[in-house]
Point group: C3
Chain length 99, copies 3
């Protein structure tokens, strides 16, 4: 079965940022995303999840072009101001047309 | 420490499909799986999670042969009918005999 | 945008192990982690999550050196005694200094 290469972006942030981060995904052309509740700790001992109702873990399967646009946006608008973690993984999908 | 290569399959679907998708994993020979609650949005603006009690995110570490069998099954029986997302990641495991 | 290569370690265990596994991460030098609630099944039909309040899924982005130290520790102290699953994924991060 043919698989196509895509990028999986995972972001972890305080839950109050969910709507804004989803808007960033949509604006860049992401076609779907998955959100799970989470808690944890960041490199500055931030524990945002304890204060504000938990963290969220958002993941989205993206083309390289859409990924680049999202990374540029979050690097400029979010990294300087928020405890946002983000990492990128190579993934394969079956349904080429969905992502 | 020696690591062995495996495949991680991640599937996101409405929570009502959990039992059936777990049965697909078992039937193909998967030896374990992890389920987390999730919500989100798919490429057709499906928001199944809002209607039916949320989505689930199922992940399972698999051999390539088991993965292929599961992908063939979900491509035939689930993709045409359900808002199921699936992606595959290369992973490494320490315990060769568990997966 | 420059991305740096790191390793993502994902561990799944019963929730009672969360504090101890987080201590293992910290002791090795991990700078952050994310925990989500989960349930599931392991290769020996363990269903720890049913008994003890659920499983947890812990993930942490690490350097290769920190990863190796954590894997050595869990292989010695946890794998023989607990239903702990662990897998490693190659990831890329934007913020070199955080991980």
């Amino acid at each position: 079965m043919t698989r196509s290469r895509r990028k999986l972006l995972t972001m972890v942030a305080e839950s109050g940022l969910e709507k804004r981060l989803v808007a960033v995904l949509h604006a860049a052309g992401a076609r779907g995303y998955t959100v799970s509740a989470a808690h944890g700790e960041g490199p500055r001992n931030q524990r945002a999840g304890d204060i504000s109702g938990g963290n969220i873990r958002i993941e989205s399967v993206l083309s390289e072009a859409v990924l680049d646009e999202i990374l540029a946006k979050i690097a400029t608008d979010y990294f300087p101001h928020y405890a946002l973690s983000a990492w990128v993984t190579d993934v394969e999908v079956l349904r080429n047309d969905r992502y």
